[in-house]
Symmetry: C2
Subunit: 426 residues, 2 copies
Amino acid sequence: MYSKRIENLLKKSGIEVGDRIEVIRNGKKYEGTLMPRISGNEDIIIIKLDNGYNVGIKPDKIKLVSKRVLKKRKKVKRVKKDPNKPTIVILGMGGTIASKIDYVTGAVTPLFSPEDIVENVPELKEISNIEGREIDRKLSENVDFDDYEKLVKEIKKEMKRKVKGIIITHGTDTLHYTASALSFAIENPPLPIILVGSQRSSDRASSDGPMNLICAAQFITKTDFKGVAISMHASESDDYCHILPPCKTRKMHSSKRDAFKTVNSKPIAKVYPDGRVEFIDKPKESNIPTTTIKGKFERKVALLKVYPNMDPKIVDFFTKNKYKGIVLEGTGMGHAPIKILEPLKKFLKNGIVVMTTQCLNGRVNMNVYSTGRLLQDIGVVSGEDMLPEVAYIKLSWLLANYKSRKKVEELLKKNLRGEINERSEI
Amino acid sequence: MYSKRIENLLKKSGIEVGDRIEVIRNGKKYEGTLMPRISGNEDIIIIKLDNGYNVGIKPDKIKLVSKRVLKKRKKVKRVKKDPNKPTIVILGMGGTIASKIDYVTGAVTPLFSPEDIVENVPELKEISNIEGREIDRKLSENVDFDDYEKLVKEIKKEMKRKVKGIIITHGTDTLHYTASALSFAIENPPLPIILVGSQRSSDRASSDGPMNLICAAQFITKTDFKGVAISMHASESDDYCHILPPCKTRKMHSSKRDAFKTVNSKPIAKVYPDGRVEFIDKPKESNIPTTTIKGKFERKVALLKVYPNMDPKIVDFFTKNKYKGIVLEGTGMGHAPIKILEPLKKFLKNGIVVMTTQCLNGRVNMNVYSTGRLLQDIGVVSGEDMLPEVAYIKLSWLLANYKSRKKVEELLKKNLRGEINERSEI
C-alpha cells in the first residue's frame, strides 16, 4: 500500500494498479504503468516506463492516461500433431523466459506454462510438433541441486519416448550452472538437450526469448547434434543465436541480450531463425554409443573466492561443517594467500580442494610460482582451464557418484565433457 | 632431493641444478635447465623449457648440454642526476616484475630491488631521473590491508618531496585490488601514481615488464595526469600499453601479457614506448585542489560469491565473527538464493551488505525482479556497476574512515573515484 496521500491522489482520479498514468514532479512529466508498492518509501509512486524499467517518483500531481486493458486469455487450442514433423518437448523450469509483470508484487515473476510459451511463439509449431510441461516455476537464483536431480529424472523419462529433442526453459542467472550439471549427469545423451533463457521478459518489445527458442528448435530439427547445449542471442541485434557448449559458457553481462559468452572456447554453432545452421566448433561424437546417467550431486561442496586479506577461518568453517570439497577461485595462475595454507591442509585430510582462476580466461598453472607449488604440495588439485562454476558442479557430481578419492581426483583433471582443453605445452 | 636413481644419473654426468641438460624418455628428447625438486614424485626430473614452462619427466637417460653460466653481478652505478629531467620514484612491492628464477625453490620468486630494475631497463634513465626503494618483497596473493596502509604512508612521504611521479611495481594477481585501495585512500593526489606489473618474468624473452615500466615513465613525464592508474600491455604484441583506471580494471587472463582489461569503462590512454600518448578517456580534473589522505582499511569485511545450493550458514559465520560488511557477488542483476535472506537479515542488524554481479559486465538493478526487491527491502545496498573486487575494497575503506552507517551507505552508492558510472535510466 502507498501512503494515505498517494492513495487519495489515486482515488480522486479513479486510478488503479495497472493503469497508464502521467506523474508530474517539479514540472517534469513521466508516463508509465502504475505498479503496486512492495517496499521503500510509501510516498514514492512506482511506475513502469515504456523502456521496461521501473522508477520511483515523489509525485506533485498524478493524471490518468488510460485504464488498464485486460487482455482476454485465449483458450489454448491443442494443435493436431503433424506426423511428418519431429516432436520437441519443452520442459519448463521458470525464469524470465516464462515470466511477465506480476501486478501483485509489482515485479517480473515466473507465470507462464509451456503451453503459454507455444501460444506466444507460434513459429515453433511450424518447425516441429511441440509438447510441453512444467517441471518447476523457479527464479534461477533459487534453482539448486534438488532441481538438478529432479530435472535429470524428467529428461530420462523423455529419452525413453524417443522425441527429436528437448528444450529446457530456464532463468538466465544460473542457466550455465544447470547446463554443466546436466552435461555431467547425462553422458552421451541420444538426443539434443538445449537450455534456453531470456534476458528480457515477454512484455518488452526487445524480448529475446522467442528467437532463442526458435533457434533452439531449428538446431534440434536441422542437425544431428546430440548433447547438452545452450541457445542464446549471439549479438545485441536479432540476427542469429549461438549454440554454446555447456561447460565453457558463462553469463558475462547482467542485462544485455548477448550476455552468454564462451570462455577459453568457441561456440558450437551459429543458428539463424530461418533454420540456417553454421557449425563453428562441433564437438566430436563419442565412440561409446551408450548413454550413462549418474544423476546425483553432493551437497557438501563449496565455491570459495580468494581475495586480499581474506580470513583463513572461512576455510575452517568448511572443515568443521564436514564439507567434502572446496573449489577455490584463486588469483592469477591459481594462487591463494599463504595464510590459508594451514587451514587448507586441515581440510585436505578429509576433503578435496580444486584450484581455478578468478581471471576466468586462461588456465591454472601451479608449477610457475612458489605459492602454486606449495599448494600442490599439500594436495590442491589443478582445475586446469575449467571455469570456477563448472569445477564446482563437477566436484559435487564426482563426489556423489564415485567413492574413491583417488578416482575423484583423477577424473577432476581429466576432460569428461569438454570442460578442460588439452594443454598446449607438454 | 631427487631419488637415488636420479641423483646417480646426474652425478655420473657431472650435472648440477641450473645446468642445461637433455632428457630422453621413450626415445623423445627434451632440452632445458635442470630445476631442483621441491615436491611430487622424486623419480621425476623437473626441467625448465625454453618457452619458460617447467615439465616433469621420468628420464631414461640424461645428458649434459652445457654447464650453468653464472652471470657476474655488475656493480650498480649510481647515475648522476640530470637537473633538466624530472624525477620518478619507483616503490617496489615485489611480484613477477621484480622476480627471476630462484634455484633454491625452483620457481619464480621476487628477488630484484628497484636498483636492479633500473639496471635491467636502462631506457628509464633516458626518460627521467630514477630513484627507487623497496617497500616490500611480496607475491601479490599475499599483499593485504597492512600493506595498503604501509604503502599509503610511503606515498605520502614521496608526495612531500615533490617528485614528478611515482611508479609502484607490484605482482599482477592482485594489482587491481591495490590500485583501487590507493585510489580510495588518496583523494586528488598531486601527482601520477602508476602501478606496473609483469605477466612474464625477466628471464623470459617475452617479458612485458620493461615496456610496461617505460610506458608508465613516458606517461608520467609527457602528460599532466594526476591520479592513480595502471600501466600494462594493451595487446599481445609489444606495440603499446594502456593506462587503465584503478577502479574499473580487472586481471582477465591468467597468463597473457594483455591480461588487464577495463570492465564497464574505457582505458584512460594509449602510450607508446617512444613517448607518444593518446588519451582515450581522460578523467575530469577535480575542482577541489587539496589532497586528502584517509589511509585506513577495516579488516572485518568479506567478499562472498553466490552460487546454486550455497549454504546459508556461511552468512551466519560472518555474523558470529562480528563482521562489519559483506560484498555479495550475486547472479545476474544482483540476486541471491532466497534461503540466504534470513541469515542476511540477521547480519544486517549490525553490518552492511552490498550487492554486485558475478557477470562483471553490466550493472546491478534490484528493481526488476522480486528477489532484488526483497533484498533491497531487508537493507542490501546496490553496488550499481562496481566490480565486486572494487566494492570490497571500497566497503572496507568506508567502514574504517567513516563512523556513521548512514554516511557509509550513502557513499557506497555515490561515485567517488570513477568506480560507478551514472545510470543511463532515470
